[in-house]
Amino acid sequence: MSNIATIHESDVHGVHEEHHEHHHHETFISKYVFSQDHKMIARQFLITGIIWAIIGGLFSVLFRLQLGYPNSTFPWLEDILGHWAKGGKIDPEFYYALVTMHGTILVFFVLTAGLSGTFANFLIPLQIGARDMASPFLNMLSYWFFFLASIIMFASLFVQTGPASGGWTIYPPLSALGDASSGSKIGMTLWLVSMAMFIVSSLLGGLNYISTILNMRTKGMSMTRLPLTIWALFFTAVLGVLSFPVLLSGAILLLFDRNLGTSFFLSDIVVNGKILPNEGGSAILFQHLFWFLGHPEVYIILLPAMGMSSEILSVNSRKPIFGYMAMVGSLFAIAILAFLVWAHHMFVTGLNPFLGAFFVLLTLLIAVPSAIKVFNWLTTLWRANIRFTPGMLFAIGFVSLFISGGLTGIFLGNSALDIHLHDTYFVVAHFHIVMGVASFFGMFAGVYHWFPKMFGRFLNNTLAYIHFWVTLIGAYLIFWPMHYEGLAGMPRRYYDYSMWESFKMFGGLNEFISFVAMIVFATQLLFVFNFFYSIFKGRKVTTPNPWGANTLEWTTPVRPGHGNWVGEIPEVYRGAYDYGKDGREFIPQTEPVGENESHH
């Protein structure tokens, strides 16, 4: 009954909306470019993120080409890349630049800005019942700082000495000394400047998300009634605001070491026969600063995917999320532990083994909240009447990948095992599954689920199903065999293994992995096509609540205008997960609690 009422209301709002927009006379620039509307900023983040994802993915295909076929030449590569691929074979220096930029782009520009930037902007005001962010202007600045960072990083791809090539973790002294690597010349300076801009963008966004969630919830939307998406985005923002400044300090000190002759990270160095005067610095100090961001960063990437998957799993299971408070508590526990485990990236730097033991304990503790989340996702699915929408499939895929990748984290978190596994393909397999592909699945789930709200149209389902199955199976085929390579000690970031007696037997396996990687990349282009095609030609959304969901964004008109709700912002009377209650499929948050309603 209330559902019908909602539809009726929004039809009325539709009329109002035209009226409303008529008065504002938005120009193209103010509507699509320097927009302060959170939904437009979200779309800007998403589309910029997609462009970066294509570039970052393409880089991985290029270096997989070298890894899979180290003895072949591809003359067309020289046509495109010039001196970076003389004779059709990628130059080692360029190979390392590709690896470095692949990591940088995917970790920061796609899975941080593209993921949080998109969904925090889009969902926070819509799901908490606010007209916009606390500061729409800072929100706009956040996007444009990200854009500036993107331009600088993109420009670094075209400098003569090449982009940064010391790995995305940019450990000094390699990244500090132009003499040590040509990627550490101007390319590295541009990397650091770009990241400084990126961090400003991230902080502006994060502060906005936190203050919006804390201050601008609609009447009745208590913290314990928030959808889990919002909780996850809230903790993500807190992690970012507390940890990104530490990376910024590291980046600035590194800039000083590079350009002003300071010795924060440099000591006792002889490079190319030159004895450097720097003394007293510590190369390890940088790793502490880097991983103090770097580890929370993993959760900055993962938590939004967790939150969105929780929401989508519940909506499409037509069941309440199992253990709402436990889900919030485990997010909180992960957010706290995220700050206390950074040195597990540094077990073989000469770190005191006794100190290592504490980091082992704290690292393995993360398994507890992680297991709670997995248990709750599975129990939400248990005996549910599941609707296998594309969004739901990707959310289930996220759970699968999170389990597979999480289990290998228990191996790596153990400092004794890590002595062998550190910097091998085991690590590559672990973090690509648990953080890379899993978060991509969360992001895809979010895009498929909220695309109707973003663009008023549906994505094509057939293409979506092809996209899901090829990506899921492909991801496992790519990353599962890497565990075996890693257990044999095969180091990561190698350009060619054919000269190594210990690792050359993996040549065939590497070729197989490269082959699958190309298929999976091509499938992502199918998604990109589906995305842009559906914005203009997709099936139109006709009802405001196509998924039958409880949350507030589905009470807005099909295409919400500036300010989201035309009339009053709706009041909230209940949590977001009243599905299948009292024989009713779903009860929106806006419906008052009935007198005879049962309590869960």
């Binding site: 080692p92 390699l174 003394e279 002595i419 910097d423 970031r493 007696e501 210990s502």
Partner: protein, 183 residues
């Protein structure tokens, strides 16, 4: 990559990176008498089977890593901050050729920390051999001190040939590994 072996006095000479010039590629401070019997070898380390061996690891230019995948060990090489690693090899290279069924088997040292464009080819070899073979090998080496200061080389055979003393048996051979020059 350079490696200095300490034998028989069980102590490596002091090092100072500022002395890394010309023939003294590892920056050894030859005013320290402990350095006078240290032997320097390129990227192949010989060690005896069944005896604990300790590596003292340093780096000259950037962070490298001494990765010993067959021993399930690795340790970073950090400029300015020496690290250590010790282990006991149980099988000689020859024994491993039979055990692994691979006649080309070799204990490889791989650089496991991104160090620049030559990272993938930064390779060392460990030869694990019997005590006897090891002593024969040591006998072929001269202390680096004599190479850098040829006038200090004694005319007669030195009193401290590596093949003497029983007193050395219970202690670990000491090797310092200094990976550098990635390109």
């Amino acid at each position: 990559m350079g490696i200095s072996l300490s034998w028989p006095d069980k102590a490596l000479g002091r090092k100072n990176y500022k002395l890394t010039k010309g023939a003294n590629g590892l920056g050894v401070d030859f005013t320290d008498p402990a350095s006078h019997d240290d032997m320097h070898v390129p990227a192949t380390v010989h060690i005896p089977v069944g005896r604990p061996v300790k590596f003292i690891i340093n780096a000259q230019d950037v962070i490298h890593d001494v990765g010993l995948s067959h021993f399930r060990l690795k340790m970073d090489a950090v400029p300015g901050i020496p690290t250590t690693l010790w282990f006991t090899p149980l099988y000689t290279t020859e024994q491993m050729k039979i055990r692994s069924g691979n006649p080309n088997f070799v204990y490889e040292i791989s650089c496991d920390q991104m160090c620049g464009k030559g990272h993938f080819s930064m390779r060392g070899v460990i030869v694990v051999e019997s005590e006897e073979e090891y002593r024969r090998y040591l006998a072929t080496l001269d202390p680096e001190y004599w190479t850098v200061y040829p006038d200090k080389k004694p005319r007669a055979a030195p009193a401290t040939t590596p093949s003497n003393t029983d007193s050395t048996k219970s202690k670990a051979p000491l090797a310092a590994i200094l990976p550098a020059a990635n390109n």
